[in-house]
């Protein structure tokens, strides 16, 4: 079964997820892996990718930059048909979530999004993906078809290793120019907030369990004694209990503090991806099955409103003992 990976890139840089997708493709042991590069000028990116797969297909056309799904849809469809690819892989990133499902419909293909495992069995495409907020896994299969599309969960697949001999780069003729209905205006970077959470050694992080903005002060007090800062998971930022700049996670910021104290955070995948590199992770949650306990080094199943004030008192006592 021929496998094709659509390379994700932005502002002239290949995204890490592209290499993970190439790794996943290789691990299928389905034969040679092709990478597809679409851009105004795909040559530089194609050269980089040529060491990570067995063939590179490129299409260069001004309308293909920036990587707008609406522009890539007809180009990718054509390239996939040209290549006779049967399984198309993309990262389950914001870009992949925009293009993947629409591409599947265009190809009349089954679609498996956000997969954590994918393999071929008896010429069927099967695998696993997380459901119910990560509390369960679903073993899935796609119905038999001539083409399949799947998006891959970030960090679930080891990136491809480079090889010495670069793959052949084949340039496809540009697709017939189309007037695009959707227009790109620009990229916008979030303005810096009052605190840079990525620079903190200690983060006291609150999730939905903190209950309301009035309770954030409890976390702030402990953070103050530890000379750290308060950060949060997505629901807290969505509700404006803390500014978006305090959000840890895929759409927020990635942090690697010495200590990450997760209070009332269930541990959605997107959150854990942003903090799992912390040196020491301690989680407090009412739910013993909260996914956060899978990445934490220490865990307390309990009510944070009981535990937090007690911890703060103990810390204050330790600090005054220290200063004696």
């Amino acid at each position: 079964m021929s496998v094709l990976v659509i390379a994700e890139h932005r502002e002239d840089a290949l995204r890490d997820a592209t290499f993970e997708a190439l790794g996943a493709a290789r691990a299928l042991k389905a034969g040679p892996v092709t990478a597809l590069v679409l851009a105004a000028d795909s040559a530089p990116l194609a050269k980089k990718l040529a060491h990570f797969c067995q063939a590179v297909l490129t299409m260069s056309q001004p309308s293909l930059s920036p990587p707008l799904a609406a522009a890539w849809l007809p180009a990718a469809t054509e390239a996939i048909k040209e290549a006779g690819a049967r399984l198309v892989l993309l990262p389950h990133s914001s870009w992949g979530m925009e293009l993947g499902p629409r591409l599947a419909e265009e190809l009349d293909a089954p679609y498996a999004p956000d997969v954590s495992e994918i393999f071929l069995r008896d010429n069927k495409v099967e695998g696993e993906r997380a459901v119910y907020g990560g509390k369960l896994n679903a073993r899935w299969e796609m119905v038999k078809a001539s083409v399949y599309v799947a998006t891959l969960r970030a960090g679930a697949f080891a990136p491809a290793e480079p090889s010495d001999s670069p793959a052949e780069i084949l340039e496809l003729p540009p697709a017939a120019p189309k007037v695009l209905a959707t227009r790109f205006v620009g990229y916008v970077k979030q303005a810096a907030g009052d605190v840079d959470i990525t620079a903190q050694k200690i983060l006291v992080s609150v999730g939905r369990g903190i209950g309301g903005p009035e309770n954030v002060a409890l976390a702030q007090e402990l953070a103050g004694h530890l000379n750290g800062a308060v950060s949060c998971s997505r629901p807290v930022a969505d509700k404006n209990w803390l500014p978006k700049t305090r959000q840890v996670g895929i759409s927020g910021q990635s942090v690697r503090p010495r200590i990450y104290l997760a209070l009332g955070i269930s541990g959605a995948f997107q959150h854990m991806a942003g903090m799992q590199g912390a040196e020491t992770i301690i989680a407090v949650n009412k739910d013993p099955k909260a996914p956060i306990f899978r990445v934490a080094h220490y865990g307390i199943v309990g009510d944070l409103f009981e535990v937090l004030p007690l911890v703060t008192d103990k810390i204050k006592a330790l600090i005054s003992k220290q200063s004696l």
């Binding site: 979530m97 925009e98 629409r102 419909e105 089954p110 896994n137 227009r183 020491t280 996914p291």
Partner: protein, 263 residues
């Protein structure tokens, strides 16, 4: 603007104990609380804010069992003008493709300017229906939308990328947008407010009424099949701190001190 919002009723998952059913291909529903999918709630609010600013009305559609009517009533109480219930056993177990096939029939009923969905559903997390619906209708789409502004016949939107970055796009109408959580603050509705709309007539359609053969909807019309549910590997590395809250707090404070929290 005439806006159609697609809303799904899902089990509350964040605090719930999700148990796999005996045959492994479903979950036990009895102890679960069902509510409007959080992302779809943001979509309803976004639709209402647009018509409040620009005139028009919002129609809300749900595909689900009889209980899913609660989701419609909530959206109506928030201010949606019309509710549509796709009610048919044949619709159950739909993936994004099968769901979009049914929803496209509703979307084609009226010349809607805009169709809003949430980014994904809290149960299956497929993030598939919105773009598939755009494909079925042959109209532009954008996902992960964090801001929508109407400018004449177009919509200026922001969509979320990674790491605090966003991209700004302009789409013509009609189009499909999937809305990201945090885009707005969904208005509160009281029990009283929901009671006020409980008698409002809904448009109820089954597969036959939509002109859909049963093989094209629900599990039968799906291309992604769930074979079974399993529990993720238990444990992980967490050393659990047991004892009374005071003992747990003392242990936690010691860990914080030990790992350099007091420097």
């Amino acid at each position: 603007m005439e806006i159609l919002v697609c809303a799904k009723q899902v089990p509350e998952t964040a605090e719930a104990d999700i148990k796999i059913s005996a045959h492994g291909r479903g979950i036990e529903q009895d102890d679960l609380v069902f509510d409007i999918n959080e992302w779809d709630l943001y979509a309803v609010e976004a639709a209402l804010q647009l018509v409040e600013a620009h005139g028009g009305s919002v129609t809300v559609v749900t595909m689900g069992d009889k209980d899913a009517e609660d989701t419609l009533r909530r959206a109506l109480a928030m201010g949606c003008a019309q509710g549509v219930h796709l009610l048919d056993r044949a619709f159950e177990g739909a993936d994004g493709h099968a769901a979009a096939s049914a929803l496209a029939k509703v979307a084609a009923e009226k010349p809607y300017d805009l169709i809003l969905c949430g980014v994904q559903a809290a149960d299956d997390g497929l993030a598939w229906t919105g773009p598939a619906l755009a494909a079925g209708l042959g109209i532009p789409w954008a996902t992960m939308v964090t801001a929508i502004e109407k400018q004449g016949n177009t919509l200026e939107i922001s969509r979320e990328l990674e790491g605090g970055m966003e991209e700004e796009l302009i789409l013509p109408m009609p189009c499909v947008l999937t809305v990201q959580s945090g885009i707005n603050e969904p208005r509160y509705v009281s029990v009283m407010g929901i009671r006020k709309v409980r008698k409002k007539p809904l448009d109820v359609f089954d597969g036959a009424a939509l002109g859909l053969e049963s093989g094209r909807t629900g599990e039968a019309g799906s291309r992604l099949k769930v074979m079974e549910y399993t529990l993720p590997p238990a444990g992980g590395r967490a050393q659990m701190i047991e004892g009374m809250p005071t003992e747990q707090a003392a242990a936690l404070a010691d860990i914080l001190a030990d790992k350099g929290g007091l420097r």
